[in-house]
């Protein structure tokens, strides 16, 4: 398949692995930020192919996983109200809240629908003016423009029965929180390529300089990831700490100006709670004042619902790259995709789900 097979070419993979091995003289710990990158690494077994001196740790870049319990509970509360059609990407439906998940709410009668785009949810709202249609706006900078565009179009078209339940988070503030931790073991970062497609990567330059870490803008296919690792190792070995773009085919220094325009119009940067990281200042989006009427928390009067996160699983440590999923005593025992203790076990970008699905404890290597 064009645009795909060339980034999964076995011979090219082998060459890069050899180059990484040749460039490495000492152990290095590199964090890939995005959950999509984590899944590619596990799916293609890249960590198995890398020299043992290169340790990949998995970052917080799974939006489903970092969505706090509070927002899940708000989603359940809204979905249970009569006359509501609650729309979401499929990933959120199995994430446990305090009293259930959206799938079980659906089984009990709530009108919960999986959509592939917020614009599909907007179409439902236009089609069913007597119902209140809510879209669960979860994600990093990557999904934000489409969600902002849905609200923008709703406002233009006067569709007032549409709103967003906001759970949008931003990557650079989370990286600042991780890198400023005195216990941080991160020596280099593979920055999330798709986020940079939207926002560009200038925001990462102060981070690289301040915390002395190479930050490599990296894609999601095996060759992308290995090129990212190679660039990180070369900088580390040379004592450098720069932002470097290894995803030139789609990521530009300034990102996508049209996408940024709609974000600036509809959203405003706000404080956000992160599961596992707590509240981080200016780390997410809220609707801008002019668009408050499209904020589901305002529409349904839920701004003040606050939920404490009970301590029962170690996903916070996993999200910070401090432990591997298999180092959690609950992994595969009390915590499985059928009975998840936390979102990292159910999301398609969650590190625990990747380790479980790809049988990471069980596979005999080699052969």
């Amino acid at each position: 398949m064009r645009h795909l097979d060339e980034y999964r070419d076995p011979a090219a993979v082998r060459i890069l692995i050899d180059q990484i091995a040749a460039a490495t003289t000492q152990p290095w710990t590199i964090m890939e930020v995005c959950g999509g990158q984590t899944h590619s690494i596990l799916k293609f077994g890249l960590d198995e192919l890398l020299p043992p001196t290169i340790r990949l740790i998995h970052g917080p870049g799974c939006p489903v996983c970092v969505t706090p319990l509070e927002q899940i509970d708000k989603a359940l509360e809204i979905a249970a109200r009569s006359g509501v059609i609650f729309c979401s990407f499929g990933d959120m439906l199995r994430v446990p809240g305090s009293t259930g998940d959206l799938l079980s709410a659906k089984a009990r009668g709530a009108d919960v629908r999986i959509v592939y785009s917020p614009l599909d949810a907007l179409k439902i709202a236009a089609r069913e003016p007597d119902r209140r249609v809510v879209f669960f706006a979860v994600g990093f900078e990557t999904t934000a423009p489409a969600n902002a565009m849905a609200v923008y179009r709703a406002a233009q078209a006067g569709i007032s029965n549409f709103s967003l339940l906001m759970a949008h988070v931003l990557v650079p503030p989370a990286l600042t929180a991780l890198l400023s931790d005195p216990d941080s073991v991160i020596q280099a970062l593979l920055a999330p390529g798709h986020v940079c497609v939207v926002t560009g990567y200038r925001a990462y330059e102060p981070l690289a300089a301040r915390y002395r870490v190479p930050i490599i803008v990296t894609g999601f296919e095996p060759l992308d990831l290995l090129r990212g690792v190679l660039a990180a190792v070369r900088q580390l070995e040379a004592g450098e700490a720069r932002v470097e773009n290894q995803y030139e085919r789609v990521a530009r220094p300034d990102g996508n100006p049209s996408a940024r325009d709609v974000l600036d119009e509809v959203f405003a940067v706000a404080n956000r709670k992160w599961r596992g990281l707590g509240e981080i200042p200016a780390s997410g989006y809220a609707l801008a004042p002019a668009y408050r009427a499209f904020d589901a928390e305002v529409v349904f009067g839920l701004q003040h619902l606050a939920v404490e996160e009970p301590r029962d699983c170690l996903s916070g440590l996993v999200l910070q790259g401090r432990i591997r999923p298999t180092e959690c005593p609950q992994f595969g025992a009390r915590c499985t995709p059928e009975h998840p203790l936390g979102a990292t076990m159910v999301s398609s970008e969650g590190a625990c789900a990747a380790y479980f699905h790809y049988g990471r404890k069980a596979v005999a290597h080699g052969g």
Binding site: M1, L4, R8, P10, V13, L42, K43, F44, G45, L46, E48, L49, L69, R94, P96, G97, S98, G100, D101, L103, S104, A107, R108, V115, Y116, D120, D181, P182, P222, R275, G276, L277, G278, E309, P310, R311, D312, C313, L314, S315, G316, R334, C335, P337, E338, H339, P340, L341, G342, V346, F356, Y358, G359, R360, A362, V363, A364, H365, G366, G367
Partner: protein
Amino acid sequence: MSNRLESLLACPLPIDDDAIVQMAHGGGGRKMANLIERLFLPAFNSPALSALGDGAVVEVGGERLAFSTDTFVVSPPFFPGGDIGSLAIHGTANDLAVCGAEPIGFSVGLVLEEGFAIDQLRRIIASLADASAAIGAPILTGDTKVVERGKGDSVYINTSGIGRMRPGVNVAPDRAVAGDVVLVSGPVGDHGIAVMAARNGIEFETTLHSDSAPVLPLVRALLDVAPETKAMRDPTRGGLATALCEIADASRAGIRIDEAAVPVRPEVRAACEVLGFDPLYVACEGRFLAIVPPHRAEAALDALRATADGETACRIGEVVADDPGRVVLRTRIGSHRRLDRLSGEQLPRIC
């Protein structure tokens, strides 16, 4: 930050919500397996059922018969390459075929929703008739029920089938042993993606057709040259990976699959990339996989490739002594990962 973090490193308790039926209970994955193993099998206490084959094999008057049933709720009922009528015959006929049986006849039970167009029903009935005629096994008995508008979704069909076991053939998922070869009769995932593409709410266009078809001619060709075939499965819900897991699990043998050898059409791969699916888990309705002893592998492949639907049959892996009970995929880039059963539902109402 570390101390503050400690108090926040937490996730909620698991939700054990098996008090009510969820979509995943019908998804062909772990949740359904749990339902079967923990609720159905203990209650029915039937050795033939507990064998968990695609159909049951029972002895009646000295003759071995295969008996299978399947219910079809596919949405939409008409899709490129087939409809719920032909699918309902192919599904049950294929279950019988991979038991090693020649179909004798079928029953058809219809559940219709008030308001369903008779024209559409006529098309479905014609399709049922054509499919059973093509297999050469008649519809022997039937039943029709109608439910109020809003209490069903157009049309559901149950079919059952009986078949006569081929003499000398003994296929069962627990018979795979190290050294056996894994064959697949054609490209995987066509049906699931064709139905998804036809479904409202997902906008992508494809020229792909469902692979819904009887596998009987292919199974006959295979068994003619390789009557010692150990196991066969038609990979419907849960796809090729789930069928392989069932065989590995039942036989307590390991299975190694070579990703590059598994035939997947480019359209299916592309759709799976976009939708986030793994083609190895997407349903087929006209393919089967066979575990054959190594000395018959070449003859079996030649025989399959000589059939109309089997030109692209190929060898995708082998049964090994390592990793008993597990399926391990050798990826295109040379690494290894485990193929596990599907968790949750991937594509609801695909058959």
